[in-house]
Amino acid sequence: MKILFLDHAFHNKTKSSTFFLGLIRDNFNQVDVEYVDPDSLFEIKALQSKRVHDLVILWQLDYLAPVFLSAGYRTVVVPMYDGSANMPFEHWIGMGQASFVNFSRTLHERVIAAGCRSFLVKYYLPPVKEEQLPAFEDLRGILWMRRPQDGLTPKLIQGMIGNQLSALHVHNAPDDEQPRSLDDPQYGASTFKITETRWSRNTNVYLDALANCNVFFAPRLAEGIGMAMLEAFSRGMLVIANDDAVHNEYVSNWVNGILFNKDNASHFVLPLDMARGIAFSGWCGAVSGYQEWLDTRQQLVEFVRGTPEPALAVGPISPAFVTALCDAYMLGGEAYRHFLREHVVDWENRNAIKKIATSLVTLLGIENQSPPIIDEDGLFFGSSPRSVGRKFGLKEYDAFSAHLANDTLGFSVKLSSFNDTNHNAYIVLDCNLIEETKDGWTVLIHVNRGICTRLSLPTLPGEFEIRIPMAGILESDFDVMLSLLNIGSENRAADLPKIKFSSIRIEEDGVIDQ
């Protein structure tokens, strides 16, 4: 069996999928690996040449499953809670013929509710020996400050545990690569001694610090697998984590770890004996869990091997469909949901879908959710019958056309006669603000999935232009998305500006091409 392992490019750096890929490589003859970067204009090489793979494994790229299922691939999806927790139910129904390997029980439950085949597994790292467990003469914490913008900072830790910690080591290496100053009261703390390391090519910096600590603060609000947390369990550290999956699928509160609610974290008392006991329970769980993982691996392999061929395959998939699906996914929940309903979910099989959807909708608690609109005309673009974008000669599949969220809209333009990108040229949208807006709104203009420019909306009613610069853009296909932002308002949807779009034109060196 020839397998394609398709993974997010980010994991080529973090290596968090390596253990799973190794298991697959150990059990199947031929495994090709391709990394995909959804944030850039990507191409899936395996879809651009003659099919050679029997089965595809999508690691965290669950939204690509409909592509491979439609093309007839036996498809295994490994979704991650941190990426897929908020997916609409159409997401799961749209890949109903895939097999799922779930590292999260929460996702497993949703997948089962959608009628899918799913294998639930818990991963653990090899535990240290009992004699290597850390001492608990005092509490020495460590925080890898990956997401300070989420509030996971020394300041938060101080509020929870205060001076019960004798020291806190902060690995100041955020995902956004902008270390925060620990002198800044927004992040720092004063009731315990703080040491600090920063990102280094030498990963030992973090591991050395870890080895000197006995209390581990999980670095993110939620995780897909939680490798850093598993590392801490295997070392016998006391794990303290935000109460969300998969943390709360590994940490039973005050049994083998401690859970807190980031938005309502309160002070707690943690005697040393109790800390030692909880940490020991976590380590015992890791010992048992690691053995169970070893015992389960072969069942997992057989589950992958037993993935059925999709019954509703339609053959080779057009690149436009792939692009549109990815666009819709990148646009966010409503765009993606709308696209799935329009192009992926098999509504002809409505009764079966309805039965599945009912339980899943109930499970996800989204029964009464309906897509909002931006103004009284709906402002549909692209292939919608009412679309003003039809005049642009849109592609067969146009993700933007499938969507109109409350704060985002878009369209695609194909410019066959426009080849010289050195000109100072613009796509100009003529717009009309219908009502006065109370707050200042900003329009972020994305072209081909990158932010191109921005402008401030007028506050008083009247006509205005949105000018989208084309210089430096090499493609002749323009996917344009406009995001409306109002940073000053908590409730953006309630006060969206009402805009009408009257025409579109190209301006090139002062020449108007309409």
Partner: protein, 409 residues
């Protein structure tokens, strides 16, 4: 000897749960008293299972509103319509089914109709058809109440009250109806309502269980099957329901694990059905997070359930005492047949049977479970085996005697 017994369970429709094994066990248990046994299940039961067990499939499934079984067809719609018109479509279906059975098998006064687990529509349908016959031409009827489906109606009314009145009238008119209940508490309650004696008939000890799946040998010998050094397994079969104590398991398991970090005991339980899972997703995550806890799907096959029992040293039954005030527990009866001790929560009717037979412990609160689990872990395997052998012996004698009295009186 009477000619034939028609052992009926219209609720026997799912491949898992207790209805299939219940229908089989009771059919076997009363076989010595009849010339022929015809077990009859729902038409919704898989054909393969009915063939494997020798069941006929003659009943429609009347409880789509209560239990998810296959396709509901238009039953809900027609039932709603019928209800609006003052009728009960399910009762009409049940009457039609019973009528067909009477015709197909030419049931006469020589025969008996046995409901080992009375359900509302099955019993009501039978009583309605019975009324078409004179008492002297009607078959003997045996109703065994277990406190589950005898109250289940489409219209939401309390079926047991309606059914009780119908039974009382039929008894008064001379029809041969013998009543029993699964627990002493329920039997006493029914006797008070109906004004007649009601037997107590527990789940029969089944020979298949005794031979192949029991921790004990089928005869009265003590054989220590357990290795004192292996991990002690504690199971909660059938606890995938809120009224069966699902929401108490976190307290029990986590309390215990705090005292047993080295995992000398492992727990296994079933999860709630998907349709009921949403409000308890975080709760279930916390169960799942406890080291040494294994969660099984809400529905398991008979083989999987047998495997669960086979590797269980102790079974927890933290059932809601209010809901189970009159009810028995099929899991308890399975356990006593297989030689597995149980711990129940005081107040449930079956807890008096646990006490009486010495088949386990009864605790007065959830927090006491931990202490009792430790007690069983620390008992020698021989001591547990001898205790359960004696419990099963007494239970088996009582059960056989009760069935004999109920059927052959």
């Amino acid at each position: 000897m009477k000619s034939r017994a028609f052992v009926c369970d219209p609720v026997c429709a799912l491949p898992y749960g207790h209805n299939v094994v219940g229908l089989k066990y009771f059919s076997d248990a009363i076989r010595p008293f009849f010339g022929g046994i015809i077990p009859i299940a729902s038409r919704s039961l898989l054909e393969k299972i009915s063939l494997d067990y020798g069941f006929e499939r003659e009943f429609d499934f009347y409880y789509h509103k209560h239990i998810k079984v296959g396709e509901a067809e238009d039953s809900n719609l027609s039932a709603d319509l019928s209800q609006r018109l003052g009728g009960d479509a399910m009762l009409e279906r049940a009457m039609r089914d019973v009528d067909n059975i009477f015709t197909k098998y030419a049931i006469s006064a020589m025969d008996s109709v046995v409901f080992p687990c009375v359900d509302y529509y099955g019993a009501m349908g039978l009583l309605s058809i019975l009324r078409k016959l004179k008492p002297e031409n009607a078959p003997s009827v045996y109703f065994r109440f277990i406190g589950v489906m005898e109250s289940a109606t489409m219209h939401g009314g309390n079926g047991l009250i309606i059914l009780s009145k119908k039974i009382a009238t039929a008894l008064k008119d001379g029809y041969k109806i013998r009543l029993s209940a699964e627990t002493p508490a329920y039997a006493d309650h029914l006797a008070e309502v109906l004004g007649v004696a009601v037997s107590v008939v527990t789940f029969p000890v089944h020979t298949d269980v005794a031979r192949s799946n029991s921790h004990l040998k089928p005869d009265n010998e003590v054989e220590v099957l357990k290795d004192d050094h292996r991990i002690f397994n504690v199971a909660c079969p059938g606890s995938a329901r809120v009224d069966k104590g699902y929401l108490s398991l976190l307290e029990i398991f986590s309390n215990f694990r705090r005292h047993d970090p080295r995992l000398t005991i492992k727990f296994v339980t079933q999860m709630l059905p998907i349709s009921e899972a949403l409000p308890y997703a975080n709760y279930t995550n916390q169960l799942y997070a406890i080291p040494g806890v294994r969660l099984l799907p809400s529905a398991v096959t008979e083989d999987e359930m047998n495997a669960l029992y086979k590797y269980s040293d102790l079974v927890l039954l933290p059932y809601d005492p209010t809901v189970y005030a009159y009810r028995g527990s099929a899991v308890f009866m399975e356990c006593i047949s297989r030689g597995i001790p149980v711990i129940g929560l005081a107040g449930a009717a079956f807890c008096k049977q646990i006490d009486y037979y010495g088949a386990g412990s009864v605790v007065s609160s959830i927090c006491e479970f931990t202490e009792h689990i430790f007690r069983y872990r620390d008992m020698s395997a021989r001591s547990i085996s001898i205790g359960m052998l004696q419990a099963r012996h007494r239970y088996a004698v009582d059960s056989a005697s009760a069935i004999t009295h109920w059927i052959a009186q």
